[in-house]
Symmetry: C2
Subunit: 313 residues, 2 copies
């Protein structure tokens, strides 16, 4: 490997442009060497390819790829990349199913490359302080409220409504990536109601009741139909006061007093992810936590579907 990690970015959609390109540009340890997208898209004068097979055949030297395609097509690309001996950064969710992620992890281990199942929300400013504060406390109850306007945040993303796109669980899995990191005890789906528009395959809203190993209730309310103020909040009631992690994990307050504030200048999620990716590549390790995806699968497994009115974007 060269001094810098030579990385190709695959799947040049909204998240690649909004988050990956700036984060890569700001990381001295990583060098963008190519992009891959079906329609071909030159970025900063770099070589670009329609698929990873063409990239591999091109002779461009690559150490790693970051996959930002929709989850439904990610497994085959990741498997090909691992076979090339490339390290792989997976956008969230790491796959459209759990079994494929487990197999990718095993394949990466066998091939001796690093696999990173990234969960960007875990790198929000308030998450690690919230985890520390909760680690010694008794959780009595928690409420996860994740309500965002799908027309604002997911314009034209038809894949999100297809099977494997997860619908409102696409943002909901961000909430679960935080909750599984900060809550001190494991928790499980007890009941789930999934509101599925009659013209779509994936839920537009969901209510999930979890319970942890000590019997405390965790309620999750997801809704893509939210207009006006948007909510990405986790509230945890404990024996020592109430923790509120708001704005997607970036603002932490304890009993109403601000503990960590989001600094827009140093927005840390994707820069944090790329620092972590470089770290595991250097260390020859993988970082694959399937817990958030497992809870989503459990919600579908145990969920009751409720047909609701069609959704037209």
């Amino acid at each position: 490997m060269s001094a810098r990690i030579r990385l190709a970015l695959v799947g040049m959609g909204k998240i690649a442009h909004d988050q990956h390109l700036p984060a890569i540009a700001g990381n001295d340890d990583i060098e963008l060497v190519a992009t891959v997208s079906r329609h071909g898209e030159p970025v900063g004068g770099l070589p670009f390819f329609p698929n990873v097979e063409a990239l591999a055949a091109s002779g461009v030297a690559v150490d790693a790829v970051a996959l930002c395609t929709p989850p439904q097509v990610r497994r085959a690309i990741a498997q090909f990349a691992i076979e090339q001996g490339w390290h792989v950064f997976l956008e969230k969710p790491p796959g459209a199913t759990l079994a494929e992620v487990t197999a990718l992890r095993d394949a990466a281990t066998t091939r001796g490359v690093s696999l990173f199942a990234s969960w960007h929300s875990r790198y929000a400013d308030g998450v690690e302080p919230a985890r520390s504060w909760l680690s010694g406390r008794e959780v009595k109850r928690a409420t996860i409220t994740w309500r965002e306007d799908v027309r604002v945040w997911h314009p034209g993303q038809d894949w999100i409504w297809e099977p494997g796109g997860f619908g409102v669980f696409d943002p909901g899995i961000n909430a679960l990536s935080i909750a599984t990191r900060i809550l001190p005890r494991p928790f499980f789906v007890e009941t789930a109601e999934l509101d599925v528009p009659s013209n779509r395959a994936a839920p537009i809203a969901a209510r999930v009741a979890f319970r942890d190993t000590a019997g405390s209730a965790i309620a999750m309310d997801l809704d893509f139909r939210q207009e006006g103020p948007q909510h990405w909040d986790i509230e945890v009631e404990t024996d020592a006061g109430t923790l509120l992690l708001a704005k997607g994990g970036s603002v932490l307050t304890i009993d109403g007093k601000e503990a960590v504030a989001h600094d827009a200048e140093l927005h840390g999620e994707y820069p944090g992810l790329y620092r972590r990716f470089a770290e595991i590549v250097r260390a020859g390790e993988s970082d694959v936590d399937v817990a958030p995806l497992r809870l989503v699968a459990d919600a579908f497994l145990r969920g009751r579907h409720i047909a609701v009115e069609p959704f037209v974007e």
Copy 2:
């Protein structure tokens, strides 16, 4: 622990009577000491209790429990049992969700007891010979056909139609427990269609398309509406001929020639399970393979629901 493993049987439904009681009676290493069921049910003059809390309070000495309750209530009972220091045998499926099984496994490890996620179909006579024969072969294609009459095999089992009861995946998971054991490569859900009766929460039929890491297709056809001949077959086409594992894993033929025949006198599934349970208890180990449940969760996660006509038993 006494010389024999003192076992209490919990959840005295159809499977406990049909399979567990005879298998326990035939195992010299295991001694039935009590039964537990909501309605109370004396078996062979043994003490019986309405719940595991009453069993624990009774003073009856217990080393292990086998849980045959519906999956939706199994986690809390298993967690209680592990806290008592009892070894735990879980009927299939090991839980109503994946996360709970992972947490039980961790809890059992911490407490130093054995946890057994049993998959009875893996102990059918043809399964290990099929696994051996396939291990050196190239699988080109596989077909899983599991069609049984729900009225015959699951009379009055309302829990099977509730969320977490899995509907036709309750028998279907048996097929997957075999397939994940005998097929040489991991495989993943690519598409799934779930036929859900309009008056029920769980599918009555399903078609799942899997693909393995080498790109071979595995098709699964599940149907609870089968009348007349019943089918529990897995057919695997390889570079060296076609393997057929029929009758739920008990009859193995290779290119039409019978390789292993089912012997009704020595029907081996549950006796095999209890031998294995005694073995892991003696060795201080657990045996928890979640692969079959993970594939079912993936089928729900990635499945398209199709409303079909009401099912009335």
